[in-house]
């Protein structure tokens, strides 16, 4: 665990000013302008995102990309140079499997665009429903989450997700990985009845799985035939995933089901990714052998059963890490994503190595979603998408995000909630 030096609070007053603005705009902050000069941070603790950490290191980025990371680097003449002694620099965190921007107010139906009707919807594309003007986004961004996988839900095949950066004018300039995969909710072998509070075998399971298998086989045949004849959007939407150029996200938990699903997808030539994976630790060897990554859903959940240990879910990331399974940590939901760093921190509290926890919310998500060429870690040539914090980002005691950059653009960290806070502090200042 990284020790946090909290002494140096004064930083970059210049850059900080916008954050302290007391004006009330009732709008999301304007997307940041392109980087117009090189930026250097000196003597920072740099968490690379690949599981390593570099102490007292300088970093230079220009034109949106990291130029170099080295000690005492020579700064270009026109660079903004900032002393980051005692500060931490992390890659911008990546929230996988989120409905951010797809829904604004859960209970208000007109704001919900995450769930298309029907059971099989691979053709549905979350990207076009992604609302860059969602007031929730800046609240998540201000906690260091700069990229997200906008993911549809519902049905057996929910649709396709896309990777976006969280400071865009519209979905087109926000997208960094278009239609990165198809999301499949694998049928559940057991079903729980809230009325009787019993879990029992889902008798429809074989039928449901057969239906799903059949659909995938039909899609494979359709795609393999060079798409002759009538155009069928649902089958067509599966082609890239079946060919392995996009992911097949398998939302599921049960060990036997996971093994079955992974083999099925692989046989067709697809790239399976387990999402959820509550019981993935039980088949860790299999997942490692088959090189199947897991997106662990929130480990801040109750144990699955009465007999499971009290901290069962908290400890799962550590178990997967120990077994050598590639995994990302995710949190689900939309507004809740601002707690993503704390979910990763919770895993550290229960045995996961700190830098591995960072990796699970930065580089691994980027690798899974296929955007690791540019995002996910702090390396030369990669996008300058990073955060600067006064302390440990995974702990709420110290999660003070002072600066954030997406592709070198310095992001406004203000949000509606901070604004409301200022508005009503003003009320009390006036004694109203």
């Amino acid at each position: 665990m990284t020790c946090v030096n909290n002494k140096q609070r004064s930083i970059l007053t210049l850059l900080f000013l916008t954050f302290l603005c007391t004006c009330v705009s009732a709008q999301n902050p304007t997307p940041a302008a392109d980087q117009d000069r090189p930026v250097v941070f000196r003597k920072a603790t740099i968490h690379v995102g690949d599981g390593t950490v570099l102490e007292e290191m300088d970093i230079l980025f220009d034109e949106g990309k990291i130029v170099t990371i080295e000690k005492d680097l020579p700064a270009p003449a026109n660079a903004d140079i900032m002393d980051a002694t005692g500060k931490h620099i992390y890659p911008g965190m990546i929230a996988l499997n989120t409905q951010l921007g797809l829904t604004e107010i859960g209970a208000v139906r007109s704001t919900n665009d995450q769930r298309e009707t029907g059971r099989i919807n691979p053709n549905a594309r979350a990207l076009i429903a992604f609302n860059t003007d969602s007031q929730v986004i800046p609240t998540v961004r201000s906690r260091g989450v700069l990229l997200a996988q906008i993911t549809p839900v519902g049905g057996m095949v929910s649709g396709r997700s896309s990777m976006v950066q969280l400071d865009g004018w519209n979905f087109e300039d926000a997208v960094v990985g278009e239609d990165d995969g198809v999301h499949i909710n694998w049928p559940r072998r057991n079903s729980w009845s809230w009325q009787t509070r019993t879990i029992s075998e889902n008798k429809e399971y074989p039928k449901q799985v057969a239906g799903l298998e059949n659909f995938m086989k039909e899609a494979a045949a359709y795609c393999g035939a060079g798409r002759t004849g009538e155009r069928l959007l649902k089958l067509e939407a599966m082609c890239e995933a079946i060919a392995g150029s996009k992911n097949v996200y398998l939302h599921m938990h049960g060990p036997r089901e996971m093994m079955h699903a992974v083999q099925l997808v692989k046989k067709m030539g697809g790239k399976p990714v387990i999402v959820g994976g509550h019981e993935s630790h039980l088949i860790a060897d299999f997942l490692k052998r088959e090189k199947v990554p897991v997106i662990l859903m929130s480990t801040q959940s109750l144990p699955d059963s009465q007999d499971e240990g009290v901290d069962g879910p908290y400890a799962k990331p550590a178990l997967l890490a120990e077994a050598g399974v590639e995994f990302a940590i995710s949190h689900g939901g939309y507004w809740e994503q601002r707690n993503l760093p704390f979910v990763a921190g919770q895993a550290v509290g229960f045995g996961l190595d700190y830098e591995q926890a960072i990796k699970a919310v930065t580089l691994t998500p980027a690798r899974i979603a296929g955007i690791d060429k540019m995002y996910g870690s702090l390396e030369e040539g990669k996008s300058a998408t990073l955060i600067v914090t006064a302390g440990d980002v995974l702990d709420m005691r110290t999660n003070n995000i002072e600066l954030a950059f997406i592709d070198g653009r310095k992001i406004d960290l203000d949000n509606k909630q901070a604004e409301l806070s200022r508005k009503f502090m003003e009320k009390y200042r006036r004694g109203k």
Partner: protein, 1006 residues
């Protein structure tokens, strides 16, 4: 060695015997008068007159359906028909105290999924407002003899049933009926034997009550209404209440839905109104013997045991939890445990569809340690006395009904067969007494050839295997002993056809006769009985079997009896010294480094440096932090139901009624440092229910968990939930549907409560109204409000209502817009218990901000963070940390958000909430800074008892795994041994939230 015995042929005689029942006196008679007296003398049997008296070689005389006498080797009186019963056993018929024999099926009263809620009773007439209060129901009036059901009960030994219509909360009166056939006029032995009550609405689809605590409140109100009704003067005619009053002198039998907690709940109501209920058991009494014994109740025990789980598939086996496996192992021994504890009980067939399953269960319970004599009494004299019909049934003493059954062996300890059942002097033949019992084996001589016959199986279904001389393998013979003759048909392996033989008994205990050989030749044959060579071996087997059946448990018994339950010995107060820790006192001393905390006798004994251990268990606090236990102001764990949201006010319901001490979340939250939780009613209606306050005393009973002496609170709610905004289109009718209506509800109810209080004070005849009484307590500042709230307008509104009616709103909970009216809250004196950072899940939280806590705090509002969530409550310390992140509250004050401040809100800060000598030892030892994401509770104490210890928890996990495995292996053995199995179906708790209704599933919105 057993020899076949000859019996008098009774079957024909019995079939022709006319009814021994006295014919209906008032009915005209058709034909010549032929009322015979049914005068019989049963000789030679062992007559079990009652559980305490047995007469060998007895003569039992009955006449006109009643017992005349039982004498040892008595003579047969003139005029009586002698029935020889040599070697048989005769028992008094069993009495079922909890039957539904002859009752019509309860029909669901319409309504169902997709229908709007039903607000009024659908029972026409001058009856109760509530459709489930059916005191006017009279089983005697509904009773209709049912030949098929009567037979199956008689087959299991029952001759008398106290039957009632099992529908509703008050189910009216039971009637005692006999299981003979005939006219109902003769079968009803007692018109009203008991008043039956339950926690189930049955066929009623009326929306109230919709929860367990609502049902309990309805029962309380029923007692008050009944008392008022007696005094009132023609204001109202209510046939249900009149019937209720008439039933009060009878035994009060309560079906609390089948578990020990519900039984304690029922008993609690009984205690409040001076009633000792007789409780229908849940079969899980062994899990809480002490508390159940203290209830003083007699139990009607069902003998329903879980079938063996089919755990052959390891992944399917994972569905079943340890608690289920334990119960599978121990349920058969429940009766023995109840008896041993000295709890009075009787036995019921309730829950068994097939009576043969009941008999099997009864024998299993006896094999599992229950005393046969006690079981006998629990089926005869016990229920007879309970129902006040001891003068009629239960024993075979003079003058009682001639209701008895005949078996070949001891009914309770052997696999006895019931041959006949006489009810009210009327015989029912179940099995031929004539049935021949074959010898263990025979030497056969057939047409000069010698064969050996080996007999196996039970009397009545014995089989014979025929082995040719010199051979080792034989062939099965088709045998019959009908009419006392033996018929044999078999085909030897080397023969071309069958031998077919018929023989009559010989005096030597064998048979001799004639037949045909495979060629069709007529031949002679004979069979001589032999002692089976394998007899000793058989006996060994028998003994071995009995040994196997003897119960040896591989499961542990914990409190509650699930994984991680506490051992009885673990719940003891200890003396502990936590040394050299960082102590967050929450007092003026602030945070003390390198400080010791001494816990003794349930209290914090001292806080200081270098304290002496004096025999205390020392906990090394180096690098550790010590804080007061976390107090969750808003929790719904440890509850069986949350909302009685059917009416606009449910102030009469008490969450104290529905504390669920078996909720594993209690233990999980101890692991998160929580020591006290306020268990709130939900937010489905503006005026909710009375809150419960518990300490997380894991392993104790609901009663023992209550925070004794604390002030009473009540839940109120505002906004979208009470308007049913997010409930769908069916919920458009219940008032209020707008915030405007919410205010008027409060205005109306508080005005009525005031008037009610004045009328009471003036000594008028007022019907006690538990709803208004709770509201009156608020006006009198004897009860305090915790109000679910979000938007500033409604928060403001409720404070104004309170101002107008002269009281203070104690706490606004959730209060996500508290930051907008923090100054007004501070002025009113209302506290704010909020979420650290929740928002966006519904419209009214669209302006919720994580700075809320900090702003309220800075404006002088007593501020706390609560969970409303079983998972998040385990991390409230982290939530407190967010008050530092959002709004810069000092760390010391932030910790108070989840400790001292909620203690103040709940008026218990004199007892808990800080680390101070003299306060309750509700203390947590953390391995890290308590506001950090990395902090883990290592030790959690409540009242000086260490309810959670992380190291011990690790050991327990290992023990849980091992015990599970042992039980799974035992299940597999049982399956292999032929036990009936069931497919695994797991139990999983539903986590309850603010808006959880018993009858519908919520979306996750708070």
């Amino acid at each position: 060695m057993r020899r076949f015995q000859q019996w008098a042929l009774l079957a024909i005689m019995l079939a022709l015997c006319t009814s021994a029942l006295t014919a209906q006196q008032t009915y005209p008679y058709n034909g010549v008068y032929d009322q015979r007296s049914g005068h019989f003398a049963f000789t030679g049997a062992t007559v079990h007159v009652g559980p305490d008296r047995m007469v060998d070689n007895a003569t039992l005389i009955i006449r006109k359906g009643k017992v005349v006498e039982v004498t040892a080797a008595g003579s047969v009186p003139a005029g009586a028909v002698e029935v020889k019963m040599d070697g048989k056993h005769i028992y008094p018929s069993f009495v079922e105290a909890y039957g539904s024999y002859g009752m019509p099926e309860a029909k669901r009263g319409g309504g169902g999924w997709g229908d709007p809620p039903q607000t009024d009773s659908k029972t026409p007439g001058a009856f109760s407002w509530n459709q489930a209060m059916r005191s006017e129901t009279e089983a005697a009036a509904m009773f209709k003899a049912d030949a098929k059901a009567a037979k199956s009960l008689r087959d299991a030994g029952f001759g008398t049933v106290s039957t009632h219509h099992q529908d509703g909360i008050s189910r009216g009166s039971a009637a005692v009926v006999s299981l003979a056939d005939g006219k109902e006029n003769d079968l009803i032995l007692k018109r009203r034997s008991a008043h039956h009550l339950s926690f189930s609405k049955g066929s009623s689809r009326q929306n109230y009550p919709s929860s367990r605590m609502g049902t309990m409140a309805l029962l309380r109100q029923a007692y008050h209404d009944a008392a008022w009704y007696k005094k009132q003067n023609g204001e109202e005619t209510n046939l249900s209440i009149e019937a209720w009053n008439d039933l009060q002198a009878l035994p009060q039998i309560f079906d609390a839905s089948g578990n020990w907690q519900d039984n304690l709940r029922a008993d609690m109501i009984g205690d409040e109104f001076g009633k000792q209920y007789i409780l229908l058991g849940g079969g899980d009494e062994y899990q809480r013997l002490q508390a159940l014994k203290e209830s003083g109740a007699t139990f009607i025990l069902p003998l329903k045991f879980p079938k063996t789980y089919d755990v052959a598939d390891p992944f399917a086996a994972d569905l079943i939890n340890l608690g289920q496996l334990r119960h599978w192992e121990r349920a058969p021994a429940n009766m023995a445990a109840v008896a041993k504890a000295g709890i009075p009980f009787v036995i019921t067939t309730h829950g068994h569809k097939k009576m043969s399953d009941f008999t099997a269960a009864l024998r299993k319970a006896i094999k599992s340690g229950a005393d046969a004599k006690v079981a006998f009494a629990a089926l005869t004299t016990g229920p007879a006395e309970l129902l006040g019909i001891g003068d009629m049934v239960g024993t075979l003493e003079k003058g009682k009904l001639a209701s008895f059954f005949v078996t070949d062996k001891d009914y309770f300890t052997d696999e006895a067969t019931v041959y006949q059942h006489w009810v009210q002097g009327k015989p029912y033949v179940l099995k031929d007494l004539d049935v021949v019992s074959l010898a263990d084996g025979y030497e056969l001589m057939i047409d000069g050839k010698s064969f050996k016959g080996e007999v196996s199986g039970k009397t009545g279904s014995q089989k014979m295997k025929i082995i040719a001389a010199g051979d080792t393998t034989g062939v099965e013979a088709t045998t019959s002993t009908a009419n006392g003759l033996m018929t044999l048909r078999f085909k030897p392996e080397d023969a071309d056809g069958f031998y077919r033989l018929v023989g009559a008994p010989t005096t030597e205990g064998g048979y001799a006769g004639t037949g045909q050989d495979p060629t069709g030749k007529t031949i002679n044959w004979s069979a001589k009985a032999t002692d089976g060579d394998d007899a000793p071996e058989k006996k060994d087997k028998q003994e071995k079997k009995e040994e196997d059946d003897k119960m040896e448990f591989v499961s542990r018994l914990t409190y509650p009896n699930i994984a991680y339950g506490a051992d009885a010995g673990a719940m003891k107060v200890g003396k502990y010294l936590i040394r050299n820790a960082t102590v967050w006192t929450n007092e003026s001393e602030g945070i003390l480094e390198n400080t010791d905390v001494l816990i003794d006798n349930g209290k914090i004994a001292a806080v200081g440096k270098g304290l002496s251990a004096g025999g205390a268990t020392v906990i090394d606090g180096e690098g550790m932090h010590v804080t007061a236990g976390i107090i969750d102001e808003h929790s719904h764990i440890a509850l069986s139901s949350v909302n009685e949201g059917s009416q606009v006010s449910s102030a009469e319901v008490r969450m104290n009624d529905v504390i669920d001490a078996t909720d594993e979340n209690i233990y999980r939250q101890l692991a998160g440092g929580v020591t006290t939780s306020q268990l709130l009613h939900g937010s489905a209606n503006p005026i909710g229910g009375q809150s419960a306050l518990i300490k997380l005393r894991w392993g104790k009973t609901p009663e023992e968990m209550k925070f004794a002496g604390a002030d009473g609170f009540i839940k109120f709610a505002l906004g979208e939930n009470v308007k049913q905004s997010n409930w769908g289109d069916l919920y458009r009718n219940r008032y209020p549907q707008t915030r405007m209506g919410v205010e008027q509800i409060f205005e109306s109810y508080f005005s009525r409560a005031k008037e009610y209080g004045e009328a009471m004070k003036a000594g008028k005849l007022v019907r006690r109204d538990l709803d208004l009484e709770a509201l009156l307590e608020i006006l009198n500042e004897e009860r305090f409000i915790t109000c679910h709230s979000y938007q500033q307008g409604e928060i403001n509104m409720l404070m104004k209502v309170a101002d107008r009616h002269g009281f203070r709103v104690n706490t606004f909970t959730h209060i996500l817009e508290g930051y907008k009216v923090a100054d007004q809250m501070a002025e009113h004196g209302a506290a704010g218990s909020t979420f650290s950072d929740w928002w966006a899940y519904k419209y009214e939280v669209n302006e919720a901000i994580p700075y809320n806590g900090a702003i309220m705090h800075k404006q002088g509002v007593l501020t706390g963070f609560n969970s409303d969530d079983a998972e998040m409550a385990r991390r409230l310390n982290q939530e407190a940390g967010k008050a530092v992140l959002f709004g810069g509250v000092s760390e010391e004050d932030a910790l108070k958000f989840v400790t001292l401040n909620p203690a103040k809100m709940l008026h218990i800060d004199d007892r808990v909430g800080s680390i101070k000598a003299g306060k309750d030892a509700d203390v947590v030892v953390w391995n890290n800074h308590p506001l950090s994401i990395y902090a883990r509770a290592e030790h959690t104490f409540v009242d000086g008892i260490e309810y959670f210890n992380r190291a011990k928890d690790a050991e327990m996990r290992k023990a849980v795994r091992e015990e599970r495995n042992a039980l799974i292996q035992k299940s597999l053995d049982a399956k292999k041994g032929g036990a009936k199995t069931q497919r695994p179906s797991g139990k999983k708790r539903r986590t309850l939230h603010c808006n959880s209704l018993d009858h519908m599933q919520e979306k996750h919105a708070h």
